[in-house]
């Protein structure tokens, strides 16, 4: 066991955890931030995507201990002052989900993607979402939503 201290969604958190604790489990079980979903648990599906120091990573494939001292943003931390992040607004507007299980990861990846590519092409979107799987195959609306998210971000 070790004490892990990290900043999550702008707030400093400390909790005891076993060294083998994954960041996804730490967020869900210790910090009760259950918006981060664990889909496949084999590093494929990306439902667990969060930002660590500004980069999209799969939190099921990172130890909580590796995030010690880092700044983590989860889906719960995207909206600011009650206003949805452009990616969240766009997913809602475009109905870019069916069951919604993959959505937190899709949105976190989208938020990183439109930061890197403020006006993404279809190819950049498809390539950029390679680490996120949607078992309902709602990809058409997801791709639309990423484009819309970029527009909303620009209009902000």
């Amino acid at each position: 066991m070790a004490k892990i201290t990290l900043k999550v969604n702008g707030e400093q958190h400390s909790a005891e955890a076993e060294d083998r604790t994954l960041l996804a489990n730490f967020l869900r079980d210790e910090l009760k931030l259950t918006g981060t979903h664990i889909g496949c648990d084999t590093s494929q599906c990306g439902a667990c995507t969060v930002h660590v120091d500004g980069r999209a990573v799969k939190s099921c494939t990172m130890l909580a201990a590796q995030a010690e001292g880092c700044e983590v943003v989860t889906i719960e931390g995207l909206a600011k002052n009650g206003k949805l992040h452009p990616a969240q607004a766009a997913f809602t507007e475009c109905h870019a989900l069916q069951c919604g299980f993959c959505t937190p990861g899709m949105i976190m990846t989208t938020a990183a993607l439109i930061k890197e590519h403020p006006a993404p092409t279809d190819e950049q979107i498809v390539h950029g979402l390679e680490g996120n799987l949607c078992r309902c195959t709602g990809y058409l609306n997801i791709v639309k939503a990423v484009k819309r998210a970029a527009e909303l971000q620009k209009a902000k």
Partner: protein
């Protein structure tokens, strides 16, 4: 996962010391292979020594005709580096095509090369570019470094510090990625340097990355797609699995080599 002790190394020498003392300790860099392996209980290390943040393992530098990249440099940083893009664009392009964005944000050059996965991309670049693997103990030529599937010349406790790529005149990499994982079903890196031309193949060899001698000879006389089209790669030493037969993979290697040669001849 079995229980282990996590420790963040404060220096490269501390990491090397811990690894030398405990043969069941393992270095942890990006963890993109190691953590999934642990989750499946395919390994049971006593300790994980996190080396990813060590400043000694960082940095990208190009001088005197050599591009040097620190072992803990993440794939996304290699892909986005202006220095790499200017020095060896094929290498930046290769890094941009590894796995998916989340993997590229964590996975490292040194981790990939040390792991020597038979379907990883970087080993093809290291071998074709005739790079030197600089470790905590010595410098290892690419031809001596890769020693078969998941096997390298690294000794227990020896860590890759950086990789030095001599600048080629031209280079190209083409791969046929597995549609789910992004790993190479076949990947061919061709590098043309002052002292010759090298063709390295990943994703296909039954013993991991290898040089395709016939392709090197054929292209030495002039780089063209047609030079590769005349060749046949024997399927005997090609890997076979649920994703493809050895004959299919041998054909894929040829197609990827043809594309890489075409890209290279177009550039000249």
């Amino acid at each position: 996962m079995y229980a282990f002790q996590y420790r963040r190394a404060k220096s490269l020498s501390e990491a090397a010391e811990v690894l030398a003392k405990d043969e069941d300790a393992r270095p942890l860099s990006g963890g993109m292979t190691l953590i999934p392996t642990l989750k499946q209980r395919l390994a049971q290390p006593t300790q994980l020594v996190d080396i990813a943040g060590l400043p000694e393992l960082g940095g990208i530098d190009c001088r005197n005709g050599v591009l040097t990249i620190g072992a803990a440099t993440r794939h996304a940083d290699v892909a986005a580096s202006k220095v790499v893009q200017d020095a060896i664009p094929a290498l930046a392009c290769l890094a941009a095509g590894i796995g998916d964005p989340q993997v590229r944000n964590r996975g490292t050059l040194g981790g990939s090369v040390a792991n020597n996965d038979p379907a990883a991309d970087y080993p093809a670049a290291v071998l074709a570019l005739n790079a030197k693997v600089v470790t905590t103990k010595r410098e290892i030529a690419a031809d001596d470094f890769f020693q078969g599937m998941f096997t390298t010349a690294l000794e227990p406790g020896e860590l890759i510090v950086k990789i030095a790529f001599p600048l080629p005149k031209a280079a190209a990499y083409c791969k046929f990625p597995h549609p789910a994982s992004g790993y190479a079903m076949a990947g061919v890196f061709i590098a043309q340097a002052g002292d010759g031309l090298r063709v390295a193949v990943t994703g296909a060899g039954a013993s991991g990355v290898f040089r395709w001698a016939e392709a090197e000879q054929a292209l030495a006389k002039g780089i063209s797609a047609a030079a590769i089209e005349k060749l046949t790669l024997a399927a005997d030493d090609i890997n076979e699995d649920i994703h493809g037969t050895r004959e299919y993979r041998a054909q894929l290697v040829k197609v990827m080599a043809t594309r890489a040669a075409a890209a290279l001849s177009g550039k000249k």
